[in-house]
């Protein structure tokens, strides 16, 4: 899952960090250099078997399929189910299943040597830079996948069975390259049972929210905690406040690196609002230095009422949350004069599945993704991980936990108004710079104007960098 927990495991980093780069080259370092041989450019799509409606990519049943899964918050049980679907249709195929956490360390040498797996779930803190993979032609164009018939849907193309954010987030340089499978919903999380008991209700307007915070504070609880060690989390609140106030154009301008995008009036108001929470003492004391586990545990222990997070929160806290704790999402409140309604939020498609361009069994990889996108495959994913997928209607009739149910309800109520931003994935060097500024803002160490200036400086620097591939949104 794409939680940005930068738990960098100890990378084998020699004194000068030099060896690590060659170690990443792994096996090929023995043969010569870390970047390996060039290898021939073959963009063969389609297998050697005949292409039929049941087998649209012409998978040769005799070809083996290699699947590499990020074994993180979602585990790898769901992948075993998807593999069984594949095995059912191609009983001769030998499927290799690998569940790992250090994607980059293990996959980088394979990509460089031109022998990547057929399906890769590129996720987690150690994921490979996806925009670089896309820009350097390492990924298969998924147009044919999205145009293929969805399984069991009477000839409806897959494209029409997915949440629009899946198509939007797949695009790199005008071509769909990445299948972001899981939907992640961001908002403020609270314990429904506690709120019922105290008679509290998540507020819709900023004014009401401040009043609620005052009441919670009066009850001896911090109104809000956040995972301050990773400012990404509180940034979700900031972005949501700004975009819901100014409309999706605020996010479009930021993603397109437009001049003064971060100095938008809505962004300033959102930054002021965040400062207000801090200055009025509504933040849990010391939360700026807590990591996600520490802060979420404090929240589970009712030391704080709200915590910002994505929809993986419930699953992540499963072992820590006390019995009777009803993890529930609330949308962020609206600032005065908001353009978007209350019950929408940032919905992101994450867990990036790719078929490498140099995969030996490209057709098999595409077919595997097609099976993942069947209602059966998607429902099993949600059943096992409590996370919704990009497949529309795949959660119908499932018995859901309170957190998953409230997150799915928010996706539905937001509908067309749900929004997303991409700059952090598109321009990875810019991301930590903005996060650093958000951290300073949330700690109350800089003003709203200073925040806007710092974030804008990071954006301008990215815009001026000739080596960065620029992308725009409508």
């Amino acid at each position: 899952m794409s939680t940005p927990n930068k738990y960098s495991r100890r990378i084998f980093l020699q004194r000068a960090g030099l060896a690590s780069i060659a170690v990443a080259g792994g096996t090929s370092a023995l043969a010569g250099c870390a970047s390996g041989g060039g290898g021939e450019e073959d963009v063969v799509s389609g297998g050697s078997a005949e292409q039929t409606s049941a087998n649209p990519f012409g998978v040769d049943a005799a070809d083996p399929l290699s699947v590499v899964i990020f074994n993180g918050g979602y585990g790898d049980e769901y992948a075993k189910f998807h593999e069984s679907l594949y095995q059912d249709q191609f009983s001769d195929a030998e499927i290799s299943h690998e569940a790992i956490t250090d994607i980059r360390q293990q996959m980088q040498p394979l990509f460089n040597a031109g022998s990547p797996p057929d399906v890769l779930d590129n996720a987690g803190a150690e994921a490979m830079p996806i925009s670089t993979l896309a820009d350097t032609g390492q990924l298969t164009d998924l147009t044919q996948l999205f145009d293929a018939d969805a399984i069991g849907q009477d000839g409806t193309p897959i494209r029409d069975t997915l949440n629009p954010v899946a198509i939007e987030s797949a695009e790199y340089a005008g071509k769909p390259m990445v299948l972001n499978y899981a939907l992640q919903v961001y908002g403020l999380w609270y314990d429904r049972a506690l709120f019922d008991q105290k008679g509290w209700e998540p507020a819709e307007t900023w004014e009401d929210f401040l009043a609620l915070c005052e009441e919670i504070k009066g009850a001896g609880m911090a109104p809000m905690a956040h995972q301050g060690k990773y400012p990404y989390y509180i940034q979700q609140v900031l972005m949501d406040l700004a975009v819901k106030h100014g409309g999706p154009e605020v996010a479009y301008a930021i993603d397109s690196l437009e001049p003064d995008a971060w100095k938008h009036e809505s962004m300033k108001m959102a930054a002021e609002a965040l400062l207000e929470i801090k200055s009025k003492g509504y933040m849990l004391e010391g939360t700026e230095g807590l990591d996600h586990i520490q802060s979420q545990t404090q929240w589970n222990e009712h030391k704080a009422a709200f915590i910002p997070c994505g929809s993986w929160l419930e699953n992540e806290q499963k072992k820590i949350a006390p019995a009777g704790f009803e993890t529930t999402i609330a949308p962020t409140p609206l600032l005065d004069g908001a353009a978007l309604p209350f019950d929408c939020t940032r919905v992101e498609a994450a867990e990036a599945f790719v078929v490498p361009a140099k995969a030996a069994n490209q057709a098999g990889g595409l077919e595997y993704l097609r099976m993942m996108l069947s209602k059966e495959g998607a429902a099993e994913f949600t059943k096992l991980t409590a996370a919704p997928t990009i497949v529309d209607g795949a959660t119908e009739g499932l018995d859901l936990t309170p957190g998953a149910a409230s997150a799915i309800a928010l996706i539905d109520s937001g509908g067309e108004d749900n929004w997303n931003y991409y700059y952090a994935i598109w321009y990875s060097p810019m991301d930590p710079k903005v996060q650093s500024a958000v951290g300073e803002l949330a700690a109350g160490r800089i003003t709203a104007d200073e925040f806007c200036d710092q974030a804008q400086a990071a954006a301008d620097e990215t815009a001026d960098d000739p080596t960065t591939q620029k992308r725009t949104r409508p």
């Binding site: 960090g17 970047s35 830079p129 993979l133 700026e288």
Partner: protein
């Protein structure tokens, strides 16, 4: 006997030298090569860009911040660690009450050595996790509880940009003192007792003995330690990556070069640029090691 001697030596050396060449020399050489390219690290293709990477480094504000923080550690770590471990080693060896038996160490000498050395057997991430728990910034955190009990309020520790780098430095010192204490202790035990006793008879106090007798006799050891600690101060990757906000934060106050190398090389898809940073770090390390060994060179005392 002369006959067949070289094949014999070569026979022993060929394996270690091959391993060394593959895993040390070749990566270094490759890093120099890639520092001149725009290699992304994820695709086999790359182009040559000359010195562009190095030129960009000079205007990269994050890299310069990292350089500055490394410089702080470079000065702070060896000074504090060497002084502390010398002091403790001195106490363990000659700190005991000077009775009729002459010079001896304090009681429980062995226990202290063990206690100080203990951090050395823990891996760096474990140390980092232990200390981040101790330096929990909430009022109920361990260190803050002690401060509160003393009536000193609470501190932000790693979440305070003014304190964060000092916290990292402290953990580095804590983790290193034990090893150097044992090292200095061993070196001190090698100094003949009668030298200390002669100094005592001549009326030298403990401080004078330390400065005039112990330090000069330990100079070789101190010099080596200094270089080791300097090299450690230029790395600190694991500690910063696990312990600090971001990592490298807050407000980039704990940003270090090794972290920049890892981020650029692996997260940003800029392996060429990261290699250039590695090359710069290589030369900084080299120069510092050479300079330190030169300026601290003294006449060796034989005993």
């Amino acid at each position: 006997m002369q006959h067949g001697r070289y094949p014999f030596i070569v026979g022993f050396l060929v394996l270690p030298l091959t391993v060394y060449a593959i895993f040390v020399i070749s990566p270094f050489a490759q890093a120099f090569h890639y520092s001149l390219t725009d290699w992304t690290g994820v695709a086999p293709e790359f182009g040559y860009v000359g010195m562009t990477n190095f030129e960009n480094l000079m205007s990269d504000s994050l890299f310069l911040t990292a350089l500055r923080n490394n410089a702080v550690l470079l000065v702070g770590l060896p000074i504090v660690t060497v002084l502390l471990s010398l002091f403790f080693a001195f106490l363990l060896n000659v700190g005991g009450s000077s009775g009729s038996a002459g010079v001896k160490g304090i009681r429980g000498n062995g226990f202290y050595k063990l206690a100080f050395f203990l951090p050395q057997v823990l891996s760096v991430p474990v140390i980092a996790v232990i200390w981040s728990v101790i330096m929990d910034p909430t009022p109920s955190g361990l260190a803050n509880s002690v401060l509160g009990w003393l009536g000193l309020g609470s501190a932000g520790w790693l979440s305070d940009p003014a304190l964060a780098l000092l916290c990292v430095l402290w953990v580095l010192v804590w983790g290193s003192v034990g090893f150097y204490l044992v090292l200095f202790n061993a070196a001190m035990s090698a100094i003949p007792r009668d030298i200390f006793e002669a100094a005592l008879i001549d009326g030298a106090g403990r401080f004078t003995t330390f400065v005039k007798v112990t330090m000069p006799l330990l100079w070789d050891t101190i010099q080596t330690s200094w270089v080791y600690l300097a090299i450690l101060a230029l790395d600190v990757y694991a500690l910063v990556a696990v312990m600090t906000a971001g990592p490298g934060g807050p407000d980039n106050s704990t940003q270090v070069i090794s972290l920049q190398i890892a981020q650029n090389g692996f997260q940003f898809g800029r392996a060429g640029y990261a290699s250039a940073m590695g090359v710069v770090l290589f030369f900084i390390t080299l120069v510092i090691a050479v300079v330190m060994l030169r300026i601290t060179r003294r006449e060796r005392i034989e005993y």
